[in-house]
């Protein structure tokens, strides 16, 4: 077995730029997924039957499709619908669509976790539905969904690797290129694993901090 990290040293800048693109895809894709997921859950919980049914169908279809297919579809089949995108925006769009179905489900669970009585208290005080949402439902739902939200964000960070297939120059793409050019498969994959580990463990650390923060009031002080 040979393990020679010097083979990958010349690829340092390419790997760093790949890591930067991975982070960009993750952040933009996550934000997109969270925003789109919010629209989907509003439709899902809407009293209008048709809207709710469409949101349910959307969720089912997207959750039943691999992210690879969504990326192929947007990048490859998009032009047939007049949607011509560069690989990077297409990739971010694909991550947003794929993640939105999961986010919508997480939000739905969150809203259902808010006790009815807490909402009724707001209603009885004369708060408007929007004020109740902003001051009661959203903050309480956030506490309930933080662990699953962090989990979903971690999953999205790893799904960015799928975008290499539509030639987004992110970490996996750069590593594959390096691996082909140097034949140093082991070293390349080692670098790749380290890269993802850095990303995921940073998200986890940040997530733990966030979780402690949002649940601080549920801890009984003596």
């Amino acid at each position: 077995m040979s393990f020679d990290l010097s083979a990958i040293v010349p690829y340092g800048p390419a790997l760093l730029s790949g890591l930067a693109n991975t982070l960009l895809c993750w952040i933009a894709g996550s934000l997109g997924a969270m925003a789109l997921g919010f629209v989907v859950v509003l439709c899902r919980l809407s009293p209008i039957r048709l809207l709710s049914a469409c949101a349910l169908a959307y969720t089912e279809i997207i959750r039943g499709t691999p992210p690879l297919l969504v990326a192929f579809f947007i990048y490859g089949a998009g032009p047939s619908f007049g949607l011509v995108l560069e690989p990077l925006p297409a990739g971010i769009f694909a991550l947003s669509i794929h993640g939105s179905a999961y986010m919508a489900e997480i939000y739905r669970v969150g809203f259902n976790a808010v006790p009815r009585g807490h909402v009724e208290a707001g209603v009885s005080l004369g708060l408007t539905p929007f004020a109740i949402f902003r001051r009661v439902q959203a903050p309480e739902a956030l506490v309930a969904i933080t662990p699953s939200l962090i989990n979903a964000l971690i999953v999205i960070s790893k799904e960015t690797s799928v975008l290499s297939i539509i030639s987004v120059p992110e970490l996996t793409y750069e590593v594959q290129k390096m691996s082909i050019e140097t034949f140093a498969a082991f070293e390349s994959l080692f670098a790749l694993a380290i890269g993802y580990w850095i990303v995921v463990s940073s998200i986890t650390k940040a997530g733990n901090f966030l979780e402690r923060r949002v649940t601080r009031h549920t801890v009984r002080s003596a």
């Binding site: 009724e120 209603v123 009885s124 005080l125 004369g126 708060l127 408007t128 309480e140 009031h217 009984r220």
Partner: protein, 259 residues
């Protein structure tokens, strides 16, 4: 004669095929305390929730300060009130729940102050000083910075009362306010309610505390099966019941307090 604070006329309500309120008539004058008693499922909580329209009612009229609750009949037919009108109406009616329903992510102070800012548009400073003064009134100024999870049930319920009171309601509704409390904590909540009654607050109280009803209420109504079986001054209703169902109901209380 002065206008009734609350006037309930021929109110009926069904959940599907189940009739939970049956031709209910009641009135409450300003500064009066009305206690609703009765077995579980008798419709007393539902009736209370109709007064601030947390529940809709199907027939009859509920007037609070002369205004029809929840519906608009200006066009001749009865339609649901607009959301903004309903919000405005609820602002003058306070409600206290069995399970307190404090918001767990806010301190006691914010639970009281936040609605003042949201609903009355008060500044942070004004809302806080008003909230503090109201917490003082229920004896909890020292707990202002505590989160609900760190308060006892009795303290939580007093914060919930303060939250309603701070809005300066003209009418307070209490839905079994002591039923979720340890027996030792019931007293502090009842004391706050008694003080309120003495200050002239108009109150409708759904309760199983017959002693409270006997001492504080001006009027007691006994409900069974969605109907008002008996309504009158506590001495008459509680001390000389005539109806067999009411006698039986009160008997269980007498038996429970003997040991």
């Amino acid at each position: 004669m002065a206008q009734d604070m609350v006037s309930i006329t021929s109110v009926s309500k069904s959940f599907g095929s189940l009739r939970v309120l049956h031709d209910v008539n009641l009135s409450v004058q300003k500064s009066e305390v009305l206690c609703l008693i009765g077995p579980s499922g008798s419709g007393k909580s539902t009736l209370l929730r109709c007064v601030n329209f947390l529940e809709t009612y199907d027939e009859g009229e509920i007037l609070v300060e002369g205004r029809l609750v929840g519906y608009d009949q200006s066009s001749g037919t009865r339609r649901l009130m607009r959301g903004s009108q309903l919000c405005a109406m609820r602002r003058s009616i306070g409600m206290v729940f069995q399970h307190f329903n404090l918001w767990p992510h806010m301190t006691a102070l914010d639970n009281v102050a936040d609605p003042l800012r949201q609903v009355k548009g008060m500044s942070r400073k004004d809302a806080h000083s008003k909230a503090m003064a109201t917490l003082e009134k229920v004896g909890l100024a020292a707990k202002a910075d505590g989160y609900p999870a760190a308060l006892s049930g009795g303290q939580q319920q007093r914060v919930a009362i303060a939250r309603s009171l701070a809005m300066e309601p003209h009418l307070m509704l209490f839905d079994e306010p002591t039923s979720a409390l340890d027996p030792e904590l019931v007293g502090e909540v009842l004391q706050v309610m008694r003080d309120l009654a003495n200050e002239g607050m108009t109150m409708i109280v759904v309760t199983h505390e017959i002693g409270f009803a006997a001492r504080v209420a001006d009027k007691v109504a006994f409900l069974d099966g969605g109907r008002i079986v008996r309504c009158g001054p506590p001495r008459e209703v509680l001390n000389s019941p005539e109806e067999p169902r009411l006698k039986q109901f009160l008997q269980t209380y007498h038996e429970r307090s003997q040991f």
